[in-house]
């Protein structure tokens, strides 16, 4: 039973390694320069996308962002007040990190579409991380509202990056309506439970014609590496870094993990075996 399950994983992994990622042979893409994430024709200089939520203050956030090496970072849209102003924007501008507004907190397609339009107006970007969650307890995406909002925003000229369930069918439909990437969750937002259904992520990767970004659920570096080994093109995380004991150190760990996982995926792992196989020559 156990060896059977391993064989399936092994075949899937091998098939993909010998195959191509978005039309580019994996072996040639990794290791050779440049191995750059491209979303809707625009290069993004890091495969670790950060969120800014959860940091105790802007100083800690700044150190973590620098250590993460991120080139793209999410922000939320909320009512402005004269006291707090727009501090996080100034920080991202200073660090020359591109801003990715999200629609966090929206429960319906209509709310998400309005929030995305306000973000485009305020931040002068057509990028949007589309989030439409069903309820406060799970923060899981509402697939029906999500697909509806995605379609409206694509029609309105947005570059839509939807936060989605780890559902290969929904991921395919989001791609079909014109999303520029799909961003399946590993586990519910903020739980740090890692990738609960690696096989679903692998299936999403196998069929995707757009970048796959593992978004939400990552708790520690090995899980970020796992996402990349499964073939994801990037990892998006916030809480795992911003609420870590040492956010700056965890940000560095995540950067290295994403890099390591990407290289391992491209390198092509050895087949799993049931019994041992000596790596030293036999005794004479």
């Amino acid at each position: 039973m156990r060896s059977g399950a391993m064989t399936i994983t092994e075949q899937t992994g091998q098939g993909r390694v010998q195959d191509t990622v978005h039309g580019v042979p994996v072996q040639e893409e990794v290791g050779a320069e440049p191995d750059v994430l491209v979303v809707a024709g625009r290069p993004i200089a890091s495969r670790l996308i950060m969120g800014t939520g959860g940091a105790a203050n802007l100083e800690i956030l700044e150190r973590a962002l620098i250590a993460s090496g991120t080139a793209l970072t999410t922000v939320a849209m909320r009512r402005v007040d004269a006291a707090t102003g727009t501090g996080v924007l100034e920080l991202l501008n200073r660090l020359e990190i591109e801003v990715l507004p999200n629609t966090a907190g929206c429960r319906t397609a209509a709310e998400a579409v309005l929030t995305a339009r306000l973000a485009r107006e305020a931040l002068e970007t057509d990028l949007v991380k589309l989030e439409v969650v069903a309820d406060e307890r799970t923060l899981l995406p509402d697939p029906i509202e999500l697909l509806d909002a995605a379609e409206q925003l694509v029609d309105d000229g947005f570059t839509v990056l939807p936060y989605t369930n780890d559902d290969p069918v929904l991921a395919r439909k989001l791609e079909q309506v014109g999303c520029a990437a799909v961003m399946p969750l590993g586990a519910p937002i903020g739980t740090g439970l890692g990738i609960r259904n690696p096989h679903n992520i692998a299936m999403i990767v196998e069929q995707a014609g757009v970048p796959v970004v593992l978004d939400a659920g990552i708790g520690t570096a090995s899980e970020a590496a796992q996402a990349m080994e499964l073939g994801c093109d990037a990892v998006l995380l916030a809480t795992a870094v911003t609420r870590a004991g040492d956010p700056e150190l965890m940000a560095r760990a995540m950067r290295l993990a994403v890099e390591a996982g990407r290289a391992a995926r491209g390198a092509g792992r050895i087949p799993k075996r049931y019994w041992a196989q000596a790596s030293s020559p036999d005794l004479d």
């Binding site: 969120g51 800014t52 939520g53 959860g54 940091a55 956030l61 999410t74 922000v75 939320a76 849209m77 909320r78 009512r79 402005v80 007040d81 004269a82 707090t84 102003g85 727009t86 996080v88 924007l89 801003v99 990715l100 507004p101 999200n102 966090a104 309005l114 929030t115 339009r117 306000l118 973000a119 485009r120 107006e121 305020a122 931040l123 991380k129 989030e131 916030a238």
Partner: protein, 66 residues
């Protein structure tokens, strides 16, 4: 007339524009977006868009999140 800005009740002269409302509250005008009664009002139209009595104005900016 009464205008609701980010959920707070405010009094304005009858000919007030969106830009007047932002100025009166000392809100930043860069990095923000405005919706009036659920419709985005582009920055270029802030000076020309008149508010009506009972209008609900939302002024949003980017904050830490996601």
């Amino acid at each position: 007339m009464v205008v609701w800005i980010n959920g707070e009740r405010r009094e304005f002269a009858p000919d007030a524009r969106v830009l007047d409302a932002l100025g009166a509250l000392g809100l930043p005008q860069k990095g923000v977006a405005v919706a009036v009664d659920g419709e985005v009002v582009p920055k270029a139209q802030w000076a020309g868009t008149a508010l009506v009595d009972g209008a609900r104005v939302e002024v949003l900016t980017a904050v830490q999140g996601g």
